[in-house]
Symmetry: C2
Subunit: 248 residues, 2 copies
DNA sequence: GCAAAAGTGTTGTCCTTACACCCATGC
DNA sequence: GCATGGGTGTAAGGACAACACTTTTGC
């Protein structure tokens, strides 16, 4: 069953099969593909998103996600990395694929697919080294219309992020290595756009038992300093839960 | 901010902008795109998946998902529908986009992206009207290697489905209009591949309060007949929960 | 001493789990 | 009458929500 044909064939026969496959692929319709990066940033206070002015004349004045077409033999994950690198100068940012958008009318220049990638990072840990097209952080609260279907993509990714952060410890990458529980709670409140009870929040995280007490304290705060914790990524990786339970 | 340039322009100026955009898009690299349908089926006993023999000589003997390239101006959702229709004769099946796979080496004939779509249906409600390429249902337990990266795609979709069915009432489409709780529980046990406690399962669903007691009973069962219920889709739609709580 | 946030516990409610017996039906 | 699954309740433990006061620090 395992590629019988292939494994029993001579090299030249194989070469022929590959040539056939190549010919077949060459006959497929081809479509321009872009990747769009939805980079959410947290500055300790607010959730923001990184936008540029659209390159396209027709969208002059509109804000746009960071996008570019995918190169001829480029994996999409790499394309997304490249876009982020070349548009912002940021490096080593973890991106996750969210969804592919394919409405034929989404690009005024004809049919273009786009694959949305999403990240969440601490604005203060990542310097924008390139500022072309007025690249900057926008508050998530005050977004107007955007180029293409980018508002729809952004909204989709925002919801995706809100769900994601409840199920995965994304948030700890946004904080300093050592952080106070106020910082942690604030992060969740901002991203989820809700208020949480302080005592219950603490209980919750202590019960999860993924926080390491460093024994150190904040300084530079104009009030009583809080204890500083680290997130125990190793323990988390080991204990990852797989089952959640039917609930809808 | 809202497309200033556009809204203030004459029709001919707009036409020019569209032409420019079209020219730009024409300069993008283009990539062949396929859609692959991962159709899970439930027959009351087992979880199965719909496969065909690969069209490609190089994968002769290997099983493959239902796929085809996307047409030139075809939205991907429609392409997935079309693939399913033309490969199986099934109509009106609800498909959800799961993920795009882009490894450059995934197709022996060169770079081809594929977008995976997933569905879950009751095998007995959907007749296969076309059986080309040995189309048939395969038990999910006994899958060997597959063509392309289709095993990887299938595994990804299987996990996606297991998560999805816990958070959305997908399962009710698999059952007859009126169903017994045994049928419902069996469905979850098979799809999630776990055993559930019968009393707790009942309590759970009664507590959710989305089941309507029809007052009717099974017949044709070789044991005491169970009550038949319907799912209250309207009530579910109204009460959909949005918040689940931090948990990882 | 005042402002601001840290730190801390209890209670009630609800959900989850584990578990065992009698009942109705077909054969 | 036997096999098969239907139908039911309870008790214990765990999670969650609501809620207020004292402490520490900077200013």
């Amino acid at each position: 069953m395992k590629r019988e044909a292939e494994t029993n064939l001579s090299t030249s026969q194989q070469a022929k099969l590959i040539k056939d496959a190549t010919k077949l692929v060459a006959s497929y319709p081809k479509v321009p593909i872009t990747v769009d990066c939805v980079i959410f940033g947290f500055d300790g206070t607010e959730l923001k998103v990184l936008l540029i002015r659209s390159d396209l004349e027709i969208f002059k004045g509109s804000w746009s996600l960071l996008g570019d077409f995918a190169g001829d033999n480029e994996e999409l994950d790499e394309a997304a990395d490249r876009v982020l690198r070349t548009r912002t100068g940021m490096d080593g940012v973890y991106l996750e694929q969210v969804r592919t958008f394919s409405k034929p009318s989404r690009h005024p220049g004809g049919r273009v697919l786009t694959v949305a990638y999403c990240s969440l990072l601490n604005i203060e840990h990542h310097q924008l080294k390139i500022l072309d097209n007025e690249l900057h952080w926008h508050s998530i609260q005050s977004l107007g219309d955007m180029a293409f279907d980018h508002k729809e993509i952004l909204d989709y990714c925002h919801k995706w992020l809100q769900k994601r952060i409840q199920e995965h410890p994304l948030g700890f990458n946004l904080l300093p290595d050592k952080f106070s529980l106020r910082e942690l709670q604030n992060l969740y409140e901002v991203i989820l756009d809700i208020k949480l009870d302080r005592r219950n929040f603490r209980k919750k995280f202590f019960a999860m038992d993924f926080l390491i007490d460093t024994g150190e304290y904040e300084d530079d705060v104009p009030h009583r300093p809080g204890r500083l914790y680290k997130f125990n990524f190793q323990k988390y990786e080991k204990n990852k839960k797989s089952w959640v339970g039917i609930d809808f």
